[in-house]
Symmetry: C2
Subunit: 297 residues, 2 copies
């Protein structure tokens, strides 16, 4: 199985076409639902007792929830606004609520996970949590500007403790203090990651492993409604695909990135998690075939 | 043969590592040298009588210069400065000089060209010049912010008169007033271009033709010294490859874009045109093989 540790949130998302209030969101929600198309996925997360039953039902249909803690208090809330280009998001409010003093515990069954995804959590928490897994074959973490700015040393320590880092281009530059993405990736590999995947939004991603560089364009889309969760869906599908193959061969890593691109493209076609909720394995397979045809020359 | 119409310049380029004073530059210089690896290329351009003999010699080795006019006066000069990331360039000075009242004339021999590249010239000049060619199979133009801001209607008229438009992403957005690159391309196709190639710098390019979208990543490079002329080299290699095949099949158009990416990658590895001057067909072929291997999955 695959374990995903990260946030489950109630998001307020303001896009040019629509504002969504307190909808199901969070990095682990997107990543976990994306990975669930490939492999049984266990969620380690916390919500408050205000977390709507309908969202709990959605999660329980897609994920193993032994690791989901329901605490007294309010669920983590995020409020962000996209500009008219949908390329830039401004954070209006972040309320940590029950997330602020959450001590994640790994259920016994999850400890056997060979594949573990640590979303953009506190890097110290990620570093501690990964030690609880006895049989990890492939662990991957993400990180965000907030942790790079406030806990850079902990981020670097976390990188040592995992196999792979998936990170946005701007955050990779901020973290490594480099401008060229190859230089960014080399520095992150020097810090101990075997694989570095730099996400570039609409421009796709770059994978680095030893002397391999694998650039992959995004699946081109005309109708983007809400970019929220695209990167988390990318990461979740990627590691979910690898877990389903029980493989970390470079060939499968490359394929997993194509699956990441494709699932990420479905996520942005609808608002919030809706793009993932109406998704099926058949639709993923079909778009992967379209992707292959698209990039061929 | 292929005809390239555009600017030949003396550039002052300020990069973080080095400043080059009055070096050989200009859109047609880069595009023409790039295309010369594939096909005999004729240049239509103007320089002043201050144009150094050594630069004239370089051009005459690579290009047919029947279309190069030497006028009394000073050569077109451009002065620009890159920031520390090499991603942003500020124009410090543009001196049109002999370019300001240049009336291009197409030499008889050039009129038989089946492939014509119109660089980022005055769109009215481009529209007029293309009519001088009797047997054009494939014409392609570029444009820049200056013309979009000052002569948008003429740019749109020019687009009607060519087969293909190659344009930067930011300029495509400015021109079409759209944010999504697919929407940008559709609008340009609605205006009459059959093919639209949107250049995205380090992120590669997107080709649009009928319902085909072909995204191609750039050849990943760690050591970039000077991005000047990358886009012009891309366009020159692209149309040069097509001219050498005497083909505009979609398969060859896709391949031509790969050649464009590869030749563009050589251009940025050295200062000014140096990257193109030390280039050979064998080096291009080798990097195309590396490119194919790189993007495979």
């Amino acid at each position: 199985m695959l374990t995903v540790f990260g946030s489950t949130a109630l998001d307020t998302i303001r896009t040019p076409s629509k504002t969504l209030k307190d909808v199901l969101g969070g990095a682990a929600t997107f990543a976990g639902i994306a990975s669930s198309f490939f492999i049984k996925t266990g969620l380690i997360a916390v919500v408050g007792n205000d977390f709507p039953k309908k969202y709990h039902n959605i999660l329980s249909k897609k994920l193993d929830l032994q690791g989901l803690v329901i605490k007294n208090g309010k669920t983590f809330r995020y409020d962000g606004k996209y500009d008219h280009t949908l390329s830039n998001r401004t954070t209006l409010k972040t309320e940590l609520n029950v997330l602020s003093n959450f001590s994640p515990v790994v259920p016994e069954e999850y400890k056997k996970s060979k594949f573990v995804y640590l979303a953009n959590n506190d890097p110290d928490q990620n570093s501690a949590l990964i030690k609880e897994f006895d049989r990890v074959k492939f662990s991957m973490c993400d990180t965000i500007e907030f942790w790079i700015s406030t806990k850079r040393d902990s981020v670097i320590k976390m990188i040592k403790s995992v196999n792979a880092v998936v990170i946005n281009d701007e955050e990779a530059k901020l973290l490594t203090k480099e401008f060229n993405l190859i230089k960014c990736a080399k520095k992150i590999m020097d810090w101990g990651a075997e694989y570095v995947i730099i996400k570039k939004g609409e421009h796709g991603s770059l994978l680095f492993y030893e002397d391999v560089i694998f650039p992959s364009p995004a699946f081109s889309l005309e109708a983007i409604l809400d970019p929220t969760g695209a990167g988390d869906s990318f990461a979740g599908a990627m590691i979910g695909f690898l877990a389903s193959k029980n493989s970390t061969s470079i060939s499968n890593i490359k394929k997993s990135i194509v699956y990441g691109n494709v699932v990420g493209s479905f996520a942005v076609e609808k608002y919030g998690v809706d793009g993932l909720l109406i998704l099926t394995s058949a639709k993923i397979a079909k778009r992967v075939r379209q992707y292959k045809k698209m990039v061929q020359f």
